[in-house]
């Protein structure tokens, strides 16, 4: 899925640590309306986010910032435009939170710390506290305030609510939804991605297996992994979710990586699936039609 005018774009990007690739040949745009990266732990979401933040260089392929490859871009402008929001633990435990926020500001603008804390719904007096003296929700707001300090156009949100309880999650989501920045959201929480992202990409074993409008993906998935993710969400008052297929199986080394866990796996799945357009989304599955119709 590519479109023109995206602030950030991955073009056939392969990423890894040392010589071991963990994200394979991924192409995607950070389009308007919020983009979600969905997948289980170890699927490569955070690795991809680190590449978009310029913290990890691709083994092959290109990350583009505007019309230039990131490694040739004006990094000062990039750092102003793109900021991360990590989990609430992303504050230096020894540093007062006001100082953590001030780190993002030029010396002359450090008086803005109180204003930024207020913007995220915190009492400016909390600036003198250390992270362990704040609640998880307050810490997450400080992390957001720090990211907002430089006036970014795009926030890369890496599991911003996963360590928070449900009521605090809701308030943080309200705050994120109210911000006027673009966002790339990395999460395994489908409710969060439904709330904040118009487009989503589902990652499995370092590959994008399905991309498209979030509402379509979650209401009528075309990949068995997307469906498994959706069906694994417990519903209040309903029966507990039933695992389908071998949920703990490792990704297959050849063919479709999901086939060892896929309840619809067939001999054809021993060949790697090519991504194709189907029913308003892009999907990499030999059995996508069967998934849609089942």
């Amino acid at each position: 899925m590519t479109s023109t005018g995206a602030l950030l774009r991955a073009e056939r990007v392969t990423l890894g640590y040392g010589r071991r690739p963990v994200v394979h040949d991924v192409s995607l745009d950070i389009a308007e309306g919020g983009v979600g990266l969905i997948g289980e732990s170890g699927s490569g979401k955070t690795t991809l986010a680190r590449a978009f933040l310029g913290l990890l260089s691709p083994m092959s392929g290109t990350i583009r910032y505007g019309d230039r490859p990131l490694h040739k871009a004006d990094m000062k402008a990039f750092r102003r435009d793109v900021q991360p929001v990590f989990q609430a633990e992303a504050l230096d435990p020894r540093m007062r939170v006001g100082r953590s926020v001030a780190e993002a500001l030029p010396r002359a603008a450090r008086s803005r710390v109180g204003e930024l804390l207020e913007q995220v719904g915190l009492d400016p007096a909390l600036a003198d506290r250390r992270p362990h003296q704040l609640s998880g929700g307050q810490r997450q707001r400080v992390v957001i305030a720090r990211a907002l300090a430089v006036g970014p156009r795009l926030l890369i949100l890496d599991e911003p609510t996963s360590a928070l309880d449900v009521t605090v999650q809701a308030r943080i989501l309200d705050l994120l939804a109210s911000l006027e920045t673009e966002r790339l959201l990395i999460t395994h929480n489908l409710a969060v991605v439904r709330r904040l992202c118009r487009t989503s990409h589902v990652l499995f074993a370092g590959r994008v297996v399905e991309s498209g409008p979030t509402s379509e993906l979650l209401s009528n998935p075309a990949h068995p992994y997307t469906r498994a993710l959706r069906d694994a969400v417990p519903r209040l008052g309903g029966d507990p979710p039933e695992p389908k297929g071998a949920t703990e199986a490792v990704p297959a080394a050849t063919g479709c990586a999901f086939r060892l866990r896929c309840p619809l796996a067939a001999p054809v799945c021993e060949r790697p699936p090519e991504p194709r357009d189907l029913a308003g989304r892009r999907v990499a599955c030999h059995r996508a039609e069967d998934v849609l119709s089942s």
Partner: protein, 283 residues
Amino acid sequence: MTTDAQPLRRLLPRVPDRFAAFGAVLLAVVVLTALLAPWLAPYPLDEPRPLERLLPPSGAHWLGTDQVGRDVLTRILYGGRTSLFIAVAVLGVSAVTGVTLGVVAGYAGGWVRDVIMRVTDVFLAFPALLLSLALAIVLQPGVNTVILVIAVTWWPWYTRLAASVAASIATRPYVDAARCLGVPAPLIVVRHVLPNSLTPVLVQLSLDAGGVILTSAALSYLGLGAQEPTAEWGLMVQQGQTLFTTNWWVVTFPGLAILVTAFAFNVLGEGLRNALDPRRAVR
């Protein structure tokens, strides 16, 4: 925890167990007596009294006199200054050098880490005492030589420790966040990596202090460290060794001073390690 230990705990809230508190108090006594030696010492430091040679402990000389008639208690009090100074200087030089290199290696990674760690490995490949002895033989004996030769063998341990901690800190999200804000690498190291790497180093320093005192005593004992008329515990033991069977106090009391100080440092270090590492915490 019994009630009689609670005043100690109030005095030392960061030290969770009584044993460590005892070590801290013992060390404080050693440091204070060394600092206050000019006021506490009953006799002048270097005043040989040939008529009072090798007097056993008595009311006039609580710990007896040595082979030239000097008061052993006086020399132990002043000797504490030398031994503690050597410990502080060795650990200061070693920690500053080792931690600086270690933090740079841990944060930078890649070839910078490889170069620093291989040099460190070269130093670690030599047996420490043997290297110290070899250097001490080449250089002029004295307190400065002791500090130099021990520090040469001590810094690599801090480099290794700091490098491993810094490498772990460098992957924390708050360091990534600082990178994403465009904070220059040297500032990230100074603001985030160094302060968060120091806790295990401080614990190691307190554990090592006893070892440094013992090593400096060993060098002095071999005649390669402090020289007469400097008061130093290891030197006192070396000078009194032949008298042990006939005039035991000349060698026993300085030996006890070394033992007590090394013990206090070690106990305090263990306590700090337990206090700062919840997995090893005393329950």
